[in-house]
């Protein structure tokens, strides 16, 4: 166990190092950070003086060594745009992203398990086929399109007049397809609850929850089909195995077989994939956050790129790298708990 953790931590350090080097190497291609800091009519000399002050004229190696020296002391530099330490800026934006990911994960968990199990147990039922069909569509629609459609339907509202208004059925159909809108389409709302540190939460007020609905649904729409299909496939395989047949022969109730014996073994690979996907989801939030003006790290990162806010870009990449390493480590630990046959050691098996 200890050896495992030591190995993981040294891996994490290596990952951080590689990310910082890559981020530094590409910064020249990102453009000139000065453009966002000075007005158009500022003279070349003034610009040159500022560039010198920021240390942008030093060679890449000198800049990197300076950065690395500070980074070892826990200082990842100051964001050009926010004018404060990058880690502070990220800490302010991270809760919003985490809440988005938590909300989406909850939706995925509560929907994918029942639907996946149902589709595995009754593969021929029309409802199961319907779910599988929808999930194929869902997986192939990009998240920003889903988001824009959701905003149009649920926050702006649509008026449908496809059917003749003067007939009863026409009016009913028009009414059924017309939506009022009204759900918030951007931001986190005004009523956030302060939990601790920089964490202001939207989970504890109606307004906050309403603001979470559309972004979470959009983000979940990417991963949900994947999980439904994964659970279905795994479960179908497990249902074919000998111990399930034996349990059936023994006359156990199908409820007990499906949800106690079969589901347990189905979940093993799902946890592995799920852990990795949470990391991927943090990356997907960039699109979702942009469409919903969700003030999380994804939006912050995208804006940092357009502004060439290099210290913030480097710090973000390092933090995300760290999140990946941590989630993977946690997944491995949880896996060990769920499946006692897995042993965590520092050596390769």
């Amino acid at each position: 166990m200890l050896a495992f953790l030591v190995q993981r931590i040294s891996q994490a350090v290596l990952v951080m190092f590689v990310i910082s080097v890559i981020a530094f190497a590409i910064q020249d291609g990102l453009g000139d950070p000065l453009q966002e800091m000075v007005g158009m009519s500022v003279s070349m000399e003034e610009r040159e003086a500022l560039r010198e002050e920021l240390g942008l004229n030093d060679s890449m190696v000198v800049q990197y060594l300076r950065f690395a020296g500070n980074a070892l002391q826990g200082d990842l530099g100051n964001s050009y745009f926010y004018g404060k330490p990058t880690l502070e800026v990220i800490a302010e934006h991270l809760p919003a992203t985490l809440e988005l990911v938590i909300g989406a994960s909850l939706i995925i968990m509560f929907l994918s398990v029942p639907i996946g199990v149902y589709a595995a147990i009754r593969p021929q039922a029309w409802l199961a086929k319907f779910f599988m069909g929808v999930s194929t569509v869902g997986i192939s629609i990009p998240v920003f399109l889903t988001a824009i459609v959701l905003i149009q339907i649920y926050s702006i509202g649509v008026t449908i007049e496809w059917f003749p208004e003067d007939t009863g059925w026409g009016r009913w159909l028009n009414g059924a397809f017309t939506t009022e809108g009204g759900l918030p389409s951007y931001g986190r709302g005004d009523e956030l609850t302060h939990l601790f540190g920089t964490w202001y939460s939207g989970f504890f007020s109606t307004d906050g929850l309403m603001h979470l609905v559309l972004p979470c649904v959009s983000l979940a729409s990417i991963m949900l089909p994947l999980f439904i299909r994964l659970i279905r496939a795994e479960m179908m395989e497990v249902l074919q195995s000998d111990y399930i047949r034996y349990a059936r022969a023994k006359g156990l109730s199908s409820m007990r077989i499906n949800f106690l014996h079969a589901l347990k073994n189905t979940m093993l690979p799902v946890i592995t994939v799920g852990g990795v996907q949470v990391g991927v989801m943090v990356a997907y939030t960039i699109l979702t956050e942009t469409v919903f003006q969700w003030p999380g790290v994804g939006l912050m990162f995208l804006e940092a790129i357009t502004r060439s806010d290099i210290p913030l870009i480097v710090a973000y990449l390092m933090v995300v790298g760290l999140i990946f390493v941590i989630t993977n480590t946690l997944v491995d630990l949880v896996y060990g708990l769920v499946n006692p046959t897995v042993k965590l050691t520092g050596k390769k098996a």
């Binding site: 000139d32 950070p33 500022l50 702006i156």
Partner: protein
């Protein structure tokens, strides 16, 4: 009788109106811009966002009216003492947000700070000093006669000198202007303006509340609280308005103009802007561009009206010069001159009938449809056998390329900080000279000392009629010489809910005077 009664009621309403106006600031305005101010220090950066903030939390000495005239704000009146000196009389009884009294020493403090500011010092370069005469009188002195003194005075938003003086707890000067990193002024604000900054989460939201002791009691404004949310994504900003999440948005993307016009709860306001979009033709890189005939051929080949109609969807005013209508240098006689036959003829005369190949560069996220404009221009040039190799870049990467003059034709948009024609010439067509900064953005390397001398002469001409004639002549000569290819002035657009009366407070400079906003 009825008439009499109506008249009576009318006069009564008039008599009670001012009282009612100043007493009832009760409304809340939720608004979304594409970005929030990058700092609270209005001298840290010269940008649209900062000027918008300046007009919310500060007051200028004088401000522009809708028709580009001047209206006194903190300056009650002004008069020329001699051709280098202007004397201002200040409004009395004005208070800062901190409670401090506003006097001429605050103006001096602000003036000195502007002279220090990297972004503003260029604008204030013509000034040689400020003389405080008494608490409410001061004089601005210029080294040469300066016709744009009032234009420049619109940039003087007096700061609370007492508030910004001294040192912070950790020993830093409160008045320091710091471009990166925190300073006292970038996080704290005290002005005389209609709105006090209540809270600010950079990039997320900003809250303002109406200043209880605001001096302008005649302002019809009835907004008590403003919540500003930056929404960068065009579609999201428009959705936020249509779904009722916000009351006022700017800018409105051209693709959504119709959508907002169709919406019965929203109101759209558009205006022809003052930002010129144009191409330079680099004579240093391309020998052919040294020939005026070739430059004219390019100018004749580009269809400004087509671009404005098709690509900008009517959301631009086709241009044949830099100065927009209302500017002193705007020359009515200059018209877009699209004529392919003529262009081909000119190419033939210049000996380039078979054409040549050039490179073109444009940003792709700086101006409205900038990359599409460049594509269209490239296609138009193909018709006179100029083969264009086009490259479009995000703005962060484009400007370094622009500074290096890496393309034969480069796109730029320019807004004159002084709202004056001379500013265009100084930055875009003056003979480039590294030391003085003249022609800093002249990516064409066009150089005509005679024209530069004429502009310089206009810049010390205080007789505005004479000055106007000179600047118009400059536009005409640049046009005849085809010094550059003007495309259009980008239009401006704002949208609000029907009950938010934005039209009266909007202007072509794009600083909405939110203090005067009325919500029904």
């Amino acid at each position: 009788m009825k008439k009499l009664l109506a008249a009576l009621v009318g006069t009564m309403a008039l008599a009670t109106a001012p009282v009612a106006l100043s007493a009832e600031a009760t409304k809340e305005l939720k608004m979304a811009y594409d970005a929030d101010p990058v700092t609270l220090d209005i001298h840290e950066q010269l940008s649209g966002g900062i000027l918008q903030l300046s007009h919310m939390s500060f007051d200028p000495l004088v401000r522009w009216t809708k028709d580009l005239g001047f209206e006194g704000r903190l300056a009650e009146s002004w008069e020329r003492v001699d051709d280098k000196t202007m004397r201002f009389k200040l409004r009395e009884g004005v208070k800062f947000h901190s409670g401090n009294e506003f006097t001429a020493k605050d103006v001096k403090f602000t003036y000195d700070r502007l002279k220090e500011s990297q972004d503003f010092k260029a604008i204030f370069q013509p000034f040689s000093g400020i003389n405080v005469i008494d608490d409410y009188t001061f004089e601005l002195v210029t080294s040469e006669p300066f016709p744009l003194l009032l234009n420049t005075a619109t940039y003087i938003f007096p700061l609370d000198s007492q508030f910004y003086s001294g040192e912070t707890a950790d020993g830093k000067k409160k008045s320091a202007i710091v471009k990166h990193g925190n300073s006292f002024a970038s996080d704290n604000l005290s002005g005389t303006g209609p709105f006090v900054v209540k809270s600010r989460q950079q990039g997320v939201r900003m809250e303002f509340e109406r200043f209880a002791d605001y001096w302008d009691e005649e302002s019809p404004g009835n907004v008590k609280k403003i919540v500003l949310t930056p929404i960068k994504e065009n579609n999201t900003r428009v959705s936020a308005l249509l779904s009722g999440g916000v009351d006022f948005i700017a800018p409105v993307p051209p693709t959504d103009l119709d959508r907002i016009k169709r919406d019965k709860n929203s109101e759209l306001v558009t205006m022809s802007g003052t930002r010129i979009i144009m191409f330079h033709m680099n004579q240093e890189r391309v020998e052919a561009f040294k020939n005026p005939k070739v430059r004219q051929a390019v100018a004749y080949a580009i269809n400004q009206e087509g671009i404005a109609a098709k690509i900008m969807k009517g959301f631009a005013t086709p241009a044949a010069q830099m100065s927009p209508a209302g500017y002193q240098g705007h020359n009515e006689s200059l018209k877009p001159r699209y004529d392919v036959k003529k262009a081909q003829q000119l190419m033939k005369e210049a000996g380039y009938e078979d054409g040549f190949t050039i490179t073109m560069m444009a940003p792709n996220n700086r101006y409205v449809n900038d990359d599409k404009i460049a594509q269209a221009a490239a296609a138009m040039l193909a018709r006179i056998n100029i083969k264009v190799d086009l490259k479009t870049l995000p703005k962060a990467q484009y400007w370094p390329e622009f500074d290096n003059r890496s393309g034969d034709m480069m796109l730029i948009g320019w807004h004159a900080d002084t709202e004056d024609s001379a500013n265009f010439f100084e930055f875009l067509t003056f003979c480039p000279e590294a030391g003085s900064g003249a022609g800093q953005y002249n990516a064409g390397n066009y150089c005509n000392p005679e024209i530069d001398a004429l502009v310089a002469k206009a810049n010390v001409e205080t007789d505005l009629e004479k000055r106007s004639a000179m600047l118009q002549e400059v536009e005409k000569r640049l046009y005849d010489d085809a010094a550059f290819v003007p495309l259009h002035w980008q239009d401006l657009a704002w949208a609000s809910k029907k009950n938010v009366k934005i039209e009266p407070i909007l202007n072509v400079m794009n600083f909405p005077f939110l203090g005067d906003l009325v919500i029904e």
